[in-house]
């Protein structure tokens, strides 16, 4: 098995170098997605199935989609403003200074890391061994799977803050939407997604895949308490389903309505309520009442899945897009629905 690890490790490094060296952004993103998949494999080799699932779903999946969508927006933006030279020649001196700085930073970082990694080999085993501590307390945590226990019981405050981080990201996303989102412009958002009628084949596949995706998402959520799985991976799957629906022109959560806001904040809200309620009976913050840990964790995970799914989906939908340029807009009424504007390279 040693050779496989060696190959996988080198594969990761080569993929990374490929990402950095490629000039064309599209190539870099594709290589980045392969890097994500290889990384998922590495997590499997490190006996961390949760991380493999998360890396594949979130790291390679959602990030890949966001990056490709951004490239589509850039390419369309280039077309609107009559394609001029991609970028003027950067002044050499700044580039040279950046290179030197990068060299120094790399060498010092490499030296430090090598020196410390080399010494850890000689070090005795660490003083604390949390593995035994987790095993000892897992019985009281209400779930049998170690990672879910740590995430939602032992270190649940981290998870609370983490979902808050996601919420802040989407709040900024909504905040930066096109300023003129009053009624005048809203329709154009709708109109735009209706514009390029997708091939019938895609819509049929999407209709087939959607229910399947939702079932797996709920399964992953449910399995979380005993096997690798959990709120974040399930949330990512729901987001993937949403993105597919969006591509297949089934419109959900397109406009920022109060229902969407409720959905976004649902997870953190329920989490806070569950965390604060025991405080009334004098227990410290974030403690679950004695017999109820299992069910409460499942409740929180369910709510978290919904809001994480919605947040990741809205990060895709609400991201700023160029409004339809004037010449194309007045072209629509004349030629009917199947005008040929290409809505970004989503394939």
């Amino acid at each position: 098995m040693m050779w496989f690890d060696l190959a996988l490790g080198l594969g990761l490094i080569i993929a990374a170098i490929g990402v950095f060296r490629s000039e064309d952004l599209f190539r870099a993103v594709v290589l980045f997605v392969t890097f994500g998949i290889l990384l998922a494999l590495t997590w499997l080799r490190l006996q961390a199935p949760d991380l493999a699932l998360a890396e594949a779903a979130i790291g390679a999946g959602i990030t890949g989609v966001l990056l490709l969508d951004t490239l589509g927006v850039f390419r369309q933006h280039e077309q609107d403003i009559n394609p001029r030279s991609s970028s003027q020649l950067p002044d050499i001196s700044r580039q040279w200074a950046a290179n030197v700085l990068a060299l120094i930073a790399c060498i010092s970082a490499a030296g430090l890391l090598a020196w410390s990694l080399f010494n850890t080999l000689k070090m005795p085993a660490p003083h604390h061994n949390l593995v035994t501590v987790v095993e000892a307390n897992i019985a009281y945590s209400g779930v049998s799977h170690g990672i879910t226990a740590v995430l939602l019981n032992f270190r649940s405050y981290d998870t609370l803050l983490e979902v808050a981080v996601l919420l802040v990201a989407i709040v900024i996303g909504i905040g930066l939407r096109e300023r003129v989102t009053t009624s005048a412009n809203a329709t154009s958002d709708e109109g735009q997604s209706k514009l390029s009628e997708p091939p019938a084949l895609l819509t049929s596949l999407v209709r087939l895949l959607l229910p399947l995706l939702l079932i797996t998402a709920i399964f992953v959520l449910w399995a979380g308490s005993t096997r690798p799985g959990g709120a974040f991976q399930a949330g990512a799957l729901i987001a993937a389903a949403g993105v597919l629906a969006r591509l297949g022109q089934i419109d959900i959560a397109a406009r920022v309505t109060t229902i969407l806001r409720l959905g976004l904040t649902l997870g953190v809200f329920i989490f806070l309520i569950v965390a604060v309620s025991p405080m009334l009976t004098g227990k410290p913050f974030l403690t679950y009442p004695a017999g109820w840990e299992g069910t409460l964790i499942l409740l929180i995970e369910f709510m978290l899945t919904i809001s994480i799914g919605l947040i990741l989906l809205s990060l895709f939908i609400q991201a700023p897009r160029p409004r339809i340029p004037a010449p194309v807009r007045n072209a629509i009424p004349a030629t009917g629905p199947n005008a040929e504007t290409n809505k970004g390279g989503d394939q």
Partner: protein, 102 residues
């Protein structure tokens, strides 16, 4: 080396061979359409063989069912994506003026 082992290793090696052919096709063929052709056909077939090769070592019926569902899904997804890539390619390239696009 029971009969089952020989059967399994045989099918999985055939599967890998098909993957190999698919990648060679990808590298050798000149333009987009032929490459998609090579990729989807060879890889799906290869995957089929590997799945068959793996079935005996699966313990429960549910695992076998899962494997087959995986294969079917990959078949559907790769064929649709191949179609979309081709569709996009035709729309973009100049020489396919007359073909109408679905």
């Amino acid at each position: 080396m029971t009969l089952l082992n020989i059967f399994q290793t045989l099918f999985i090696t055939i599967g890998c061979l098909f993957f190999l052919i698919g990648t060679i096709g990808l590298l050798r063929f000149p333009d987009v359409l032929t490459r998609i052709h090579a990729l989807t056909k060879a890889d799906n077939l290869g995957l089929g063989f590997i799945v068959i090769g793996l079935i005996p070592s699966m313990s429960t019926a549910a695992d076998i069912a899962k494997l087959i569902v995986c294969w079917v899904l990959i078949l559907a997804a790769s064929s649709v994506s191949a179609f979309l890539v081709a569709n996009q390619h035709i729309k973009k390239s100049k020489e396919f003026k007359d073909h109408d696009v679905v």
